[in-house]
Amino acid sequence: MTPTRRSFLKLGTGAAAASALGFDLTPAYAQARELKIARTTETRSTCPYCSVSCGVIIHTLGDKSKNVRPAVVHVEGDPDHPINQGSLCPKGVTLKQDIINDRRLTHVRYRAPGSDHWEEKPWDWAIDRIAHLFKETRDRTLRQLDAQGRTINALTSIGVIGGCTDANENNYLLVKAFRAGLGVIPLEQQARI
């Protein structure tokens, strides 16, 4: 008998349990069809690119077990977000590559005076060295008084830029630590340019 398309489909579904292989394939198929995000943890975030600030959902796997480093497996638009309602632009849909990228920096790099290459250094060494350089410059060049003898406590020999790529709270910490604390006047960010 030549099976019609209809009877073939019937065979494929209802008769699957009694397949020619002698065991039931249904669960195996179901397993293969499960989406990679079915068992992920979803974290709500905001796209770091333009100022529309679309809501994104970052899917990570592996965060439920100890000694396993969670990995981002997918980033998608947040359907609940009133602005993007799940959609993303060509940059937003590639956000996973902004997170997992073999060009990401993973260690402190240092370039010595006159050198033509990077050296890898430990964090503690770098923080210590930066702090000494900062303090030495500040101690020597802080303008405590101006030409008219007025207190200004202005540090103009060191500049600090940053923030538009980071959270408000980090912007505030930059302002607090470097201007209110250490006296830095040249404090700027992308908004100027």
Binding site: S51, D80, L105
Partner: protein, 820 residues
């Protein structure tokens, strides 16, 4: 943005100018398309290129890069001369009724305002002011008929901008201008509303502040500010550039847009007197009268218990902006920083997530500047041209090699957006919390930890060995539970602020009421006027009050409910100020407090209070009290005429870019902005049109973000390399075929890439001269995947900056083009 992304859906007319939202803010652009689809809104695109926004627009007009003011001034003249302005709105809410001081004038032949000093090339601005009565209030003429009323002066001022003059300057045909003007000014009736969407295409000029002022003037004339579907909307270029600005990441401002203290503000009181405006109309709210509360609370946040009444809350510890020898103040804005660096006035520099070699004007000058540093710290996700400026291929730009450069460089691996929490403030002023998803890779650390560890190590050194002025370092209020890695939730609480002591009702009528506690010590403040000037409250940024209250972290809110039905989503995140979704919303209602358009209400007076959106007004002040709709301004009225604030004049006038193919057709004597100052290093060169005849502009592509995505495989596959857009006519003249290699050269440098011969840019007639324009996108450089080839767009841009905002002139400079 005065309004917000989701509000664009309420517009009848959308003017996209100085921006290309379909390309650069594509997801926000959905609301433009929704307005077109649902309301039959008209989209008008005005741009040097037929771009992706123009492709879906109802009207497109091509103009020369750098001629936008003339176009907007022409629109104002069109509205004023065709009786297409909302007269009642203008009379009620703007300073059109105010009288200007006798002596104010504009010299139409010379192109300068009264007070111009040709010897010193500067202005005495004393005549740029209102005529005041004996009490110090501005005089007004409600009929707007007085010859010195702002309205009459404005009408005369802009009468010069006829369609023919617009055509002379902008290079568009008079009839095309008039077609666009007809659509744009159609929103002058109370029932129609138009919005303006702009971006870096307006801010990157040597007259950028005046340009945006012109747009604000147009929107006030048409009665569009404060209304649903209206406003003046800056589409900002980075996810948290708005927040960075709000939080004081600028040399001239403290958090919350409070001007930084200057060398001549010897005491806290002198400072407060200098930065607190006096009301200019009897009933104006003049909200900045509360500056003392914001300043003292901020100092309490900085210096904690060490900030006492006796030491002026630590006022003397905070740095003051130094004065120059001539009596002005030193300028430490971006371009000036690198100029000072070139002149060996700086030793150290720290860059958190910024890449000035790529994103600053004139890359060669920046490389030279960095070479003068003793040390440089860069915290980044990826290696950047700035961190690697000492590499041979980059130093070659200025003819140096690594062994010549003594700068010590630290490149610190930093976490990205997904690897830390915290809030971003988007263009619509929505403060949205995000949650951390994963740890940063390898040894990379979150910025809060990098900042804290550097600061704490420096503090430790001061505690151990002493040093210069240790008090602010030692007394900084670093109260966080984990000092070396502050929790951003704790920082967010500090930014919002809390009561240090029990607070009482300041305006209580009886002693008993005064004794009642309105906020207990330790409780988060909930509204601006909870803040006190006596040291009993602490607040890092008054503008963000309400974001983290006793109700919790409101930036985390995720309710999609929209009771307004107009896309205000009042319980989604927190919208500064005070969760207000539409700024200046008093203007959305008439003199009696009824919405101009009943179908699109923002707020209305219900007999007792204002209801709807959070009112941009005293909530219980009746309309007949005439408080003035602009509560942040001392005159309470929107400013057509800006008294004294801007460098180059109280009204917006068209000036040519610093490099222009023609002399200003209005007044060749002062062709470009007379208040622009020129840097003097060997790098600061301008080109002349005989050698560099072509107008050039720069822009972004939707497939890339700034200089970041050149590290991502997909983005590089979508847009693999730098290219130059050239008109068919210019290509023909130069014998350039599509895909040929070309070189673009300015007085500063050259850049090479493939030519993209296109119909999207056309030659134009400007002041009787045939002018070509070219343009190119900015996204490549030296480091990244694929074909970078050193194609930094800013190798050719000038170091000219606006005299108010100090933003560089990236749009509308001069180049020449050759086939390689």
């Amino acid at each position: 943005m005065t309004n917000g992304w989701t509000d664009i859906r309420n517009a009848d007319v959308i003017l996209a100018m100085g921006g290309n939202p379909a390309e650069n803010h594509p997801v926000g652009f959905r609301f433009v398309m929704e307005a077109k689809r649902e309301r039959n809104a008209k989209l008008v695109s005005v741009d040097p290129r037929f771009n992706r926004t123009a492709a879906v627009a109802d009207s497109f007009t091509q103009i020369r890069a750098g001629s936008d003011i003339a176009f907007l001034a022409g629109l104002m003249n069109y509205a004023l001369s065709h009786d297409r302005y909302q007269a009642e709105y203008v009379r009620l809410y703007t300073n059109a009724t105010f009288l200007v001081k006798d002596g104010y004038a504009f010299n139409e032949q010379e192109g300068v305002f009264s007070g111009w000093d040709a010897q010193k090339n500067t202005y005495d601005k004393s005549t740029w002011n209102y005529e005041l009565d004996e009490k110090g209030f501005a005089k007004v003429d409600p009929q707007m008929e007085h010859p010195r009323s702002v309205f009459q002066l404005m009408k005369k001022f802009y009468a010069r901008y006829t369609p023919e003059m617009v055509s002379q300057v902008c290079g568009c045909k008079p009839a095309d201008f008039e077609k666009a003007a007809e659509i744009i000014t159609s929103t002058y009736t109370p029932e129609r509303v138009g919005t303006i969407l702009y971006a870096l295409g307006w801010t990157h000029h040597s007259f950028s502040v005046q340009l945006i002022h012109a747009a604000a003037m147009l929107q006030m004339l048409l009665g569009n500010i404060g209304c649903a579907g209206g406003g003046l909307n800056a589409l900002r270029g980075h996810a948290n550039i708005q927040g960075g600005t709000d939080c004081g990441m600028a040399y001239h401002n403290l958090p919350g847009y409070i001007a930084i203290q200057k060398a001549d503000h010897g005491s806290l009181q002198q400072y407060l007197d200098a930065v607190t405006p006096k009301p200019l109309r009897p009933n104006s709210m003049n909200f900045w009268a509360n500056t003392d509360r914001f300043v003292v609370s901020q100092f309490k946040a900085y210096y904690g218990k060490a900030a006492t009444k006796e030491n002026e809350f630590g006022y003397g510890w905070h740095p003051k902006l130094p004065q120059t020898a001539t009596g002005g103040y030193e300028n430490w804005s971006w371009a000036y920083i690198f100029d000072h660096m070139c002149n060996r006035q700086m030793e150290g520099f720290m860059s958190f997530g910024m890449n000035p070699v790529a994103n600053g004007p004139h890359s060669k000058k920046v490389v030279d500047a960095l070479e003068h540093l003793k040390w440089l710290v860069v915290a980044e996700n990826f290696e950047t041209e700035t961190a690697a400026f000492w590499k041979p291929e980059i130093l070659e730009l200025i003819g140096r090699k690594p062994s010549d450069v003594a700068t010590e460089v630290f490149l610190l691996p930093a976490a990205n957006f997904a690897e830390k929490d915290g809030s971003f403030t988007n263009s619509a002023r929505w403060m949205q919390w995000k949650w951390k998803a994963v740890d940063p890779p390898g040894e990379a650390k979150a910025d809060q930890e990098i900042i804290a560890r550097i600061f704490l190590k420096i503090r430790e050194l001061y505690q151990k060995e002493g040093g210069t002025a240790p008090a602010p370092v030692e007394n900084l209020n670093w109260w966080y539970s984990n000092p070396a890695k502050p929790s951003l939730e704790e920082v967010a609480r500090e930014i919002n602020g809390w009561a240090i002591a029990d607070l009482h009702d300041e305006h209580a009528a009886t002693v008993k009421e005064r004794e009642a506690v309105v906020l207990k010590a330790g409780q988060q403040v909930g509204k601006f006027l909870d803040l006190r000037a006596d040291g009993s409250t602490l607040c890092g940024n008054w503008l963000y009050v309400g974001s983290y209250t006793e109700a919790g972290n409101l930036m985390m809110r995720r309710s999609t409910a929209d009771p307004s039905g107009m896309g205000r989503y009042s319980e989604w995140s927190f919208n500064w100020p005070a969760n207000r979704r539409v700024m200046y919303n008093r203007c959305s209602a008439d003199a009696e407090g009824r919405p101009w358009d009943a179908a699109r209400p923002v707020i209305r007076w219900n007999g007792e209070k204002w209801v709807g959106d959070v009112p941009d007004y005293k909530a219980d002040s009746p309309p007949d009290a005439l408080m003035g709709a602009f509560i942040m301004l001392p005159e309470g009225a929107g400013r057509f005429f800006v008294p004294g604030q801007y460098a180059e004049g109280p009204f917006t006038e068209h000036y040519e870019p610093a490099e222009s193919p023609v002399a200003n057709p209005l007044h060749p004597a002062h062709s470009s902005n007379p208040m622009v100052k020129h840097f003097q290093t060997e790098w600061d060169k301008l080109g002349k049109p005989d050698e560099f005849p072509i107008v050039c502009t720069t822009y972004r592509l939707t497939e890339h973000f700034h200089y970041w995505t050149k590290n991502n495989p997909y983005n590089m596959q979508l847009q693999p390399e730098f290219f130059v857009e050239v008109s068919e006519e210019l290509a023909h003249e130069k014998g350039i075929g599509n895909g040929d290699k070309v070189r673009v050269t300015s007085a500063r440098g050259a850049i090479e890439g493939k030519a993209m011969v296109t119909k999207r840019i056309k030659p134009m007639m400007v002041a009787g001269k045939k002018v070509y324009q070219i343009g190119f996108p900015i996204h490549w450089g030296f480091l990244g995947r694929g074909q970078q080839k050193g194609t930094l767009a800013n190798l050719v841009t000038p170091t000219i900056v606006d005299p108010n905002s100090f933003a560089p002139e990236y749009k509308g400079f001069l180049v020449k083009l050759e086939k390689v």
